[in-house]
């Protein structure tokens, strides 16, 4: 699993109301949610995104409500992977269930700036910052979560279990 794209950096404690405000929770459609991604942070935030871009956040990303619309909005906006210092736990589960990959970088997150070009090799556990020339590691994704993600998310997992 590899990703290449330009980064968009947001801050610490970005909550799910910032990712997708409650007034947009009248739909479960990924593309529709994506149009309003980060509307609670800044009006029109999503306009800066080109599909394949990489979201970079600080500490406790995705805190607040349990709304699965939050990872869906990020996917819908065209960002397939998030890098952060740390994540809120409900958001962490939701993201993997929805097929959004989250990588936890700890303090190394400071080595990535807004607009940097990154190349991520998940299996090798390496991020190449093409802008700065640095190579950055990340905490391994628990095998349990990676299996879930590569198996198509939780819906597919339960489907197989129900069929058995």
């Amino acid at each position: 699993m590899t990703f290449k794209g330009k980064t968009h950096v947001v801050g610490d404690h970005i909550d799910t109301d910032a990712i997708i405000p409650a007034r947009f929770l009248v739909t479960a459609d990924t593309a529709e949610l994506g149009k309003n991604c980060f509307e609670g942070l800044e009006e029109g935030w999503v306009k800066r995104v080109t599909p394949g871009d990489i979201l970079v956040a600080g500490e406790n990303f995705g805190c607040g409500s349990s709304r699965e619309h939050a990872p869906l909005a990020i996917i819908g906006a065209g960002m397939p992977v998030v890098l952060a210092k740390s994540y809120a736990r409900i958001f962490y589960r939701n993201a993997f269930n929805m097929g959004l990959l989250l990588l936890e970088l700890g303090d190394d997150i400071a080595r990535i700036k807004d607009g940097d070009e990154l190349e991520i090799d998940v299996a090798a556990g390496k991020i190449a910052n093409l802008t700065s020339g640095e190579t950055i590691g990340f905490n391994p994704v628990p095998k349990f979560m990676m299996d879930m993600l590569s198996g198509g998310g939780l819906v597919e997992y339960v489907k197989r279990k129900v069929e058995q």
Binding site: D17, V26, A28, N60, V155
Partner: protein, 419 residues
């Protein structure tokens, strides 16, 4: 092994021996919950899973409380999806209309949750039931869909932070102040992935409703659950709400905690969480010059009958300040009905308050009291994130019900003792 409350409850619901924190265990659940915002996604996932029926139609609760009474066509369509699903699956505990209230207020009142249970809900404030001694936590819609299908889910056994409260609570200081103070100490990520377990003499004396107020906001410290031992008070509450056969449950003395904190509450003031994070907490004296446009009394945190009584006692015989909107939202039909019988609604109406039907309403910026740019609200709710109650340029302060009533009277954030 001497067990924390989290370990003890999880062990009752799994056949895998729990030997350490951090272990991943598969647990049977007692109740699975979703609401009008999260259930439609869960239903979509259940269809995708090819599931034809839920694991137990008596152990699923669907509560249409967030945007109800439906605020617009889109929210009406979402409730319709939930209603049709409830009919198709013959769900026993479906709530909409006259029996609906804020989910975390009604489930305890209807006797659906109790000590030792595991409850998962597609709502982050599911942790409220920790006040009854239940391991209760929020999950996303698809995790909840899986739990509805299989009757089980996975948990990482959390490390526990034990918080002890000693001393004597001053007047006008209660559960809301204890939890706001705690969040101010830990920070919004201080209990990330952890269980919070509350105890000490102050907690022993605290009402069950106040314990639920505290458990409710464990998530605001990043916590997975906020746990209280189930004691005689808990059992009395459960019996009064139609439950039978519950038993006390508590952590073992000498259980291993990740961290322990002890606070003497004797000199506490009412606590205020200032914009824009719940950990930006100050004693009321430090923010008493802040003017407000709106006051909201309600929510899964502080919309119960004890909260309405506390606020009514302050505002009785007084008037809401000119230019301030005081919105009172009983969190459940039960609280509404008792407030009517006890004359509390009369007190609020005479003071000039607006009384709303039970709903989550403005707490999450849904409806029934949205803020314009530059407006400021003091609320008994649980989150003051930027834009949470409306415009990105509005502000929310969090406080207890007595402070809310006093603030409605003066138009400035006010210590109830100063009236």
């Amino acid at each position: 092994m001497r067990q924390t409350l989290a370990q003890k409850i999880l062990q009752r619901h799994t056949d895998q021996p729990i030997t350490a924190d951090g272990q991943i265990v598969q647990c049977r659940v007692s109740l699975v919950l979703a609401n009008d915002i999260t259930a439609p996604l869960a239903i979509k996932s259940i269809r995708g899973m090819g599931v034809k029926k839920v694991f137990d139609k008596d152990k699923v609760a669907l509560v249409c409380d967030h945007f109800t009474p439906n605020k617009d066509i889109d929210s009406a369509e979402q409730v319709k999806v939930v209603r049709d699903f409830a009919r198709e699956m013959d769900i026993t505990h479906y709530y909409e209309g006259g029996n609906v209230g804020v989910e975390h207020a009604i489930l305890p009142e209807y006797g659906l949750v109790g000590p030792g249970d595991i409850i998962v809900g597609a709502d982050s404030h599911t942790c409220t039931y920790g006040g009854l001694g239940a391991f209760a936590t929020g999950l996303g819609s698809t995790d909840v869909a899986a739990a509805m299908a299989l009757g089980e889910t996975w948990f990482k056994v959390p490390e526990t932070i034990r918080v002890n409260f000693t001393g004597k609570l001053p007047e006008h200081v209660g559960g809301k102040d204890l939890i706001l103070f705690t969040i101010g100490q830990t920070g919004v990520a201080g209990a990330l992935y952890k269980a919070l377990e509350f105890g000490g003499e102050v907690i022993d004396d605290l009402s069950v409703e106040a314990r639920m107020t505290m458990a409710n906001m464990a998530i605001e410290a990043g916590g997975k659950v906020g746990l209280f031992a189930a004691d005689e008070k808990t059992l009395e509450y459960c019996r009064a709400h139609g439950r039978d056969g519950d038993e006390p449950i508590a952590a073992d003395p000498g259980a291993a905690y990740w961290k322990e904190m002890t606070f003497d509450v004797s000199s506490f003031s009412p606590q205020i969480a200032c914009p824009h994070l719940p950990d930006n907490v100050k004693p009321v004296e430090e923010v008493s010059d802040v003017r407000v446009d709106q006051v909201v009394l309600g929510s899964c945190t502080n919309g119960r009958i004890s909260d309405l009584r506390e606020a009514a006692a302050i505002i009785r015989g007084r008037k809401v300040a000119k230019g301030v909107r005081f919105i009172v939202i009983p969190a459940s039909p039960g609280a509404y009905s008792m407030a009517l019988d006890e004359g509390l609604l009369r007190i609020f109406l005479d003071a000039g308050a607006i009384i709303s039907p039970p709903t989550c309403g403005p707490c999450l910026g849904g409806h029934m009291g949205i803020l314009a740019g530059g407006e400021r609200c003091l609320a008994t709710t649980n989150r003051n994130f930027k834009g949470r109650m409306g415009s990105l340029k509005s502000e929310v302060y969090l406080a207890n019900p007595a402070v809310a009533a006093a603030t409605a009277v003066t138009g400035f954030i006010t210590h109830p003792g100063k009236l």
